[in-house]
Assembly symmetry: C2
Homo-oligomer: 166 residues x 2
Amino acid sequence: MNTAVELLREHGVQVTAQRLAIMRVVAEQPHITAGELGDVVRSQLGSISRQAIYDSLGVLVDKKLIRRIQPAGSVGRYESRVGDNHHHLICRVCRMMFDVDCAVGEVPCLTADDTHGFEVNEAEVTYWGRCPTCRADDPPDDVGRRRSAVFPHEQATIHNDSRSMT
Amino acid sequence: MNTAVELLREHGVQVTAQRLAIMRVVAEQPHITAGELGDVVRSQLGSISRQAIYDSLGVLVDKKLIRRIQPAGSVGRYESRVGDNHHHLICRVCRMMFDVDCAVGEVPCLTADDTHGFEVNEAEVTYWGRCPTCRADDPPDDVGRRRSAVFPHEQATIHNDSRSMT
DNA sequence: AGCTGATAATTGACAGAGTCCAGAATCTGT
DNA sequence: ACAGATTCTGGACTCTGTCAATTATCAGCT
């Protein structure tokens, strides 16, 4: 049942309580940040160093067991949906974030007209807009920012919605 | 001739030497960071505060006179190509970055299958791959990272190429 | 089970991007 | 030229992420 252990073994990395906890939490809370992840894992294991968080996330990303994303204006976020080439839909106002399936499925799902000789292996798509709640709250149109600050105090955290994780 | 002045006036913001310099430098060096921008502007005007850089960039972005982008693992970068809905092509190895035209042109150039009730006004596409130089340098395949660090010392800076700015 | 070398976690210091704040300077319309 | 609004300055601060040295833990072997 505990396929996480097998996954780690298969990828030739040691199985540790920290890594298992990180994998579990990332699966439960998609789009979590390293900092938030530390808090959650710490509450479960008692303690974990910040460096262990970053190290573990690093190897898990390396082994493609989790994926790191970083939408403009956000810190790095982690998710366990890998290999399905899904994309992200983000509200400019409240930063709520949804997963959206890729219509194509394969990677890369798009090709540029002129690839400048690149070997392109991923087309990452981020849809920006305004969520239903923020559309209702605010007068229509002008989905821009109100403040001068590039990203006003990181607008709390980017909420994530697991409805899209089914 | 100095259309930058007019642009600022039209958008109802004060015309200052700092803003003009920032607009000029961003136009000359697409994908520049706030820090690099500060250095260049400082060498031209003698001095400018970091806060003035961020304030001005904020206002200019607000007014849509420049655009802020932030590829995963990079700090914020600024470009003067606005309104043409172009996308970006980035080398995972050396971080070289190109502009690529959007095949569709209109905004948003893509629509998600399920928009969760969002009012979507932009589809931002980032193509990730390996540039010609790095393909030649390195053995083929495995375009991944070698280190555990998420982004090894920001791999110098993201180079930009103005060939695509014509 | 107990060793042992390799791997991983901890600790503390550090760097850089971006923000906040209060006071001084500058711009713009009248 | 004046006054009010806007902008700039300088310094302190937060937060994410990294580096390096030390200690602890894992996993294969006898």
